[in-house]
């Protein structure tokens, strides 16, 4: 977005273009639907805080608000900027922690040192982020507005004197070095000893035997408690020996109190959503899986998703090093319903989940699985999956299923996204066909967008709004479970043909691999 526009508005939030728009237009899908689509697993993997979880749980309806977030997320794709933001957050959080500890009394200079530590970290956090944002080529309104706001904070007199005074006090204390002679229970505090460090001598004498570089020292592994009575004793003696830096510390704390600007603290919380999501999909991108920012167009333009995949499944598989097979999903012109048939274990349910996930993630403002994705706005996600193994007879389960379907149909509008996975699986084929036709007639009449996974081949040619997709089984490696689901007429023989391919290729395959 043009910088001119960005400068015209003062910074409010990285998540919403206007504060008033916050949650009013958010969608709230049912918890069961989140589970059906694997979204709960995605949220669990992504959300590092309750703030992030709240944002991830509230997809937006307004395309303009979605675009605002996409801009911010795109800017944060820059690794440099993300690194800067990460260290900003680390410093800011450490500063807050130090201030919380401040109340602890009885330790010499406890309060003064806490304020100093917090100030040093806060100064570094804000100045660092401000510089990084200035150095970055920002296209988002959100971050451009934040940059301007931070620049004015950093240029202010309060911040300038905080930075100067904290550095002076900090440097004085850091320059102190001392020695401890510990003999039994007696401790003598003195100046830095002139003798060698034992570590250096050992390294010189025994380094010749090391076959690998020595291990990195882990200074934090055995850190003594900072505020012990012993350390208090040592400090009092140090302060008596070196009064100057301790006086400078007291002086600093007397002049500076509220170091953290509340606006800066809020930005930190809002960043969770963006960083969590990008961190979650990073390993998938590293594994070569494509992600893109979906465009949101009118319903008549249809929907197009190239090389897309189930994000929840991909998170599991990539962690285990297994391959992912992407699929294309398309609804052209008047097409509304994808009817998915084919052999089991062929990726049918995965495809249905993917369709629902894409809409949900797009409405969060996130990049979604796929090389290119175009979707239309929607007002709700309605799902129907088998509900575990609920005890009871077949008739009881069918009754339950039909009841849930009735509720789904009552909630559906022309802008709903409906995902049906194996409806009527517990009935006979004839019954399922009969019920399926009734169900599709209603969905078609509503003119909503739906994916229906079914074992009833006949439903794939239901009407002109219906598109047939068929899952393929890779006979070469049945271990691959997320397989191709292709747009083609339902064909009971596809499986048998695929298996036939496996035999009859032995020699040709060998010769092919030998070709340079």
């Amino acid at each position: 977005m043009p910088d001119g526009t960005a400068r015209a508005e003062t910074f409010q939030s990285l998540l919403y273009p206007r504060t008033a728009a916050a949650s009013a237009h958010a969608l709230t899908p049912a918890g069961a639907s989140l589970h059906d689509l694997g979204l709960d697993a995605i949220l669990d993997a992504a959300a590092s805080s309750s703030a992030a979880r709240a944002v991830l749980s509230a997809p937006l309806r307004d395309p303009a608000a979605i675009r605002y977030r996409q801009e911010v997320m795109r800017d944060l794709e820059s690794a440099e900027l993300r690194d800067a933001v990460t260290s900003f957050r680390a410093d800011l959080r450490a500063a807050a922690v130090r201030l919380d500890e401040e109340a602890d009394a009885g330790f010499p200079y406890a309060r003064e040192r806490a304020v100093l530590d917090a100030a040093v970290r806060y100064v570094r956090a804000v100045a660092g982020l401000s510089e990084a944002l200035q150095a970055a080529r920002l296209t988002s309104r959100g971050l451009a507005r934040l940059r301007d706001r931070l620049m004015s904070i950093v240029a202010g007199a309060d911040f300038t004197s905080l930075a100067r005074d904290s550095k002076r006090a900090w440097d004085g204390l850091s320059a102190l070095h001392y020695s401890l002679r510990i003999e039994g229970r007696s401790v003598t505090v003195g100046p830095t000893p002139a003798s060698h460090e034992l570590h250096d001598d050992l390294s010189r004498q025994f380094g010749r035997f090391m076959q690998d570089p020595p291990p990195e020292p882990q200074p934090r592994a055995y850190l003594p408690a900072g505020r012990s009575a012993v350390q208090a004793q040592i400090l009092r003696r140090l302060a008596a020996l070196h009064p100057e830096p301790f006086e400078a510390l007291r002086d600093f704390a007397g002049h500076h109190h509220d170091v953290i600007d509340p606006l800066v603290a809020r930005v930190d919380g809002e960043l969770d959503f963006y960083l969590d999501y990008l961190r979650t999909i990073a390993p998938l991108r590293a594994a070569g899986l494509p992600f893109c920012y979906p465009t949101v167009g009118p319903r008549e333009a249809g929907c197009l998703c190239l090389d897309t995949f189930d994000l929840a499944l991909a998170l599991r598989l990539v962690a285990g090093g297994s391959p992912i097979v992407p699929n294309d999903i398309e609804l052209r012109g008047g097409e509304r319903m994808l009817v998915v048939t084919g052999p089991n274990q062929g990726g049918k349910t995965t495809l249905a989940r993917t369709f629902g996930q894409l809409h949900y993630l797009a409405a969060l403002g996130c990049p979604v699985p796929g090389r290119e994705v175009r979707l239309a706005p929607f007002d709700g996600l309605l799902t129907h999956f088998q509900r575990g193994e609920r005890a009871g007879d077949l008739r009881g389960r069918l009754v339950d299923e039909l009841t849930r379907l009735r509720e789904l149909l009552e909630a559906a509008t022309p802008d709903s996204i409906v995902v049906l996975n194996e409806p009527f699986a517990s009935t006979t084929l004839a019954d399922a066909r009969f019920l399926g036709r009734k169900l599709l007639a209603r969905l078609s009449q509503l003119d909503l967008r739906a994916v229906i996974v079914t074992f009833v081949d006949g439903l794939s040619t239901f009407d002109a709004k219906t598109v047939s997709m068929v899952s393929m089984v890779d006979a070469e490696d049945p271990a691959i479970r997320t397989l191709k689901v292709l747009r083609r007429p339902a064909d009971g023989a596809a499986h048998a043909l695929a298996i036939a391919r496996k035999h009859g290729v032995t020699l040709e395959q060998i010769l092919e691999r030998l070709s340079p």
Partner: protein, 505 residues
């Protein structure tokens, strides 16, 4: 300090991943017979030798020369090799006895334990030095000189003296002297242990001048004692980790010495066994991979020579420039044994050993693979071809240019026409890609086609049949014959029965 007795630039890793197909190579070439002779009953010798042989078909000629020279030294002074091998074993045994493998949790304790362990190692290193220094002067290989030089430079008197002093100080215990700075929250940081060498004067003067710098913990102040212990631990952690790491390094040095000497010990054992059987041995000349050199005199299969009670017939052949060697002809004529002897000689030569021949000169290969027909699947004919081609496919994955593939009766699980066509396509593709192929086959159509079309880069060999049909078990260049291959057997076994009865009837 590093041990480099098997490879010029790196330690030999006995736990390394073996090349694809190593199991097949081992069983197809009957490596067990050779390894049994090498081991002399020592499991480590056997295992090291096994890995050395199975990884040999990648070694470059320089590495081969490096090992040959060291092996010559070992043959000159077997006692030195055996004494060093014993010392390395003792170092390991003493470490196990003294120290059960887990350092204390606390860095202070860990520092003391690592110092004790290192103290023991200093004794062993001193003995290492005296064995190496006392070795005969005629040991001149680069490998040996590298070890001797490393001992001279790294294990000099100055080292032992300084090292014993530092360790003594660490082990004495008592008070400690450490340095520190101030970090966030005015907590201490950068704790470091100091050497005790700087003695009191400056310190004492300072303390007296600046007032009461000393405080004592109350007798029951357990928290305070804990904090002091933490400070000592924080200071002890880096030197403890360093010393433990160095001790681990010494363990690896002795471990490496033991492993690499185990290989030469295996070579010595094998040499003794073959000498006892009067089997000829020669250090081969090994040329660059791709040079396609291969000629030998009196080459025998080492495995067969070790197993069979009598004398084994040797082969004399000049196969220079051949990319494809097709061995066909009479059964029971020694074709498979010959193919094995080719493979085993390649393995031994590239491992840096002597070869069981009177003379041997050959090119290094870039990976050696075997595809021997598996008898156990003979029942299912279609399944067997399936299995063979799947196995071949795995080999193709692993093959590289200048690799070598030994095929034994492959593709025989179908009729001769089809089998020959598969063989033709596979072999010509492999040869085009620079793979050297030796193929024992009954597929006459293939053997004839290869002979016709192969030109000078193809050798056709058959078992020698003397007039009258006597087998010599030697391979000779010969045009593959369509009908000859069972004639000998027929004559030996059946002819009398068939013709005798025909004649009488």
């Amino acid at each position: 300090m590093k041990v480099r007795l098997m490879l010029p630039d790196e330690a030999f890793d006995v736990r390394q991943a073996l090349p694809a197909g190593a199991d097949a190579l081992s069983s197809d070439l009957d490596l067990d017979a050779v390894l049994e002779a090498m081991s002399g009953g020592d499991a480590l010798v056997r295992e090291t030798s096994r890995v050395a042989l199975l990884t040999a078909p990648r070694n470059a000629p320089e590495a081969v020369g490096f090992r040959q020279a060291m092996l010559r030294d070992a043959l000159r002074s077997p006692a030195t090799v055996r004494r060093l091998y014993g010392l390395a074993g003792e170092a390991d045994a003493r470490r196990r006895k003294q120290w059960l493998g887990v350092f204390s949790r606390s860095p202070t304790g860990m520092l003391a334990e690592a110092a004790a362990l290192m103290h023991m190692y200093l004794d062993m290193l001193a003995r290492l030095r005296s064995i190496v220094t006392d070795a005969p002067a005629e040991l001149t290989s680069a490998a040996w000189r590298g070890l001797a030089e490393s001992v001279r430079v790294e294990l000099d008197d100055g080292f032992f003296e300084a090292a014993r002093r530092t360790l003594g100080e660490v082990r004495r215990g008592g008070g400690v002297h450490l340095s520190a700075g101030l970090g966030e929250g005015n907590a201490g940081r950068d704790y470091a242990l100091r050497r005790a060498s700087s003695r009191r004067p400056g310190w004492l003067a300072w303390a007296l001048r600046r007032g009461p710098a000393t405080f004592r913990l109350a007798p029951l102040d357990d928290d305070g004692a804990r904090v002091l212990a933490d400070m000592r631990n924080a200071a002890a952690a880096p030197p403890a980790a360093l010393l433990a790491h160095a001790a681990e390094g010494v363990r690896e040095i002795f471990g490496g010495l033991r492993t690499e000497l185990a290989f030469y010990l295996g070579c010595l054992n094998l040499h003794e066994r073959l000498m006892a059987r009067a089997v000829p041995m020669t250090f081969p000349t090994v040329h660059e991979a791709g040079s396609r050199t291969l000629r030998f005199r009196g080459l025998v299969d080492a495995g067969l020579a070790l197993r069979s009670p009598g004398r084994v017939v040797g082969n004399d052949l000049d196969l220079d420039g051949k990319r494809l060697i097709v061995i066909s002809g009479a059964n029971q004529g020694g074709k498979t044994v010959f193919l094995r002897s080719l493979g085993l000689a390649q393995v031994l030569a590239q491992a840096g050993l002597f070869v069981t021949a009177e003379a041997y000169e050959g090119a290094a290969c870039n990976g050696l693979h075997t595809h021997f027909s598996r008898e156990e699947d003979a029942g299912l004919v279609s399944g067997k071809l399936d299995e063979e081609l799947a196995r071949l496919s795995g080999i193709v994955d692993a093959l590289e240019a200048n690799g070598t593939l030994l095929l034994n009766e492959s593709f025989a699980a179908t009729n001769e026409g089809e089998g020959s066509e598969v063989a033709r396509q596979v072999v010509s593709a492999l040869v085009q890609r620079g793979v050297r192929v030796a193929f024992v086959t009954h597929l006459v159509a293939f053997a004839e086609q290869a002979h016709r079309a192969g030109g000078p880069a193809t050798a056709s060999l058959c078992p020698e049949l003397l007039p009258g049909g006597t087998r010599t078990f030697r391979m000779v260049p010969a045009r593959p014959g369509g009908s000859g291959h069972v004639e000998g057997l027929y004559r030996d076994i059946l002819a009398e029965a068939v013709e005798g009865s025909a004649g009488s009837g």
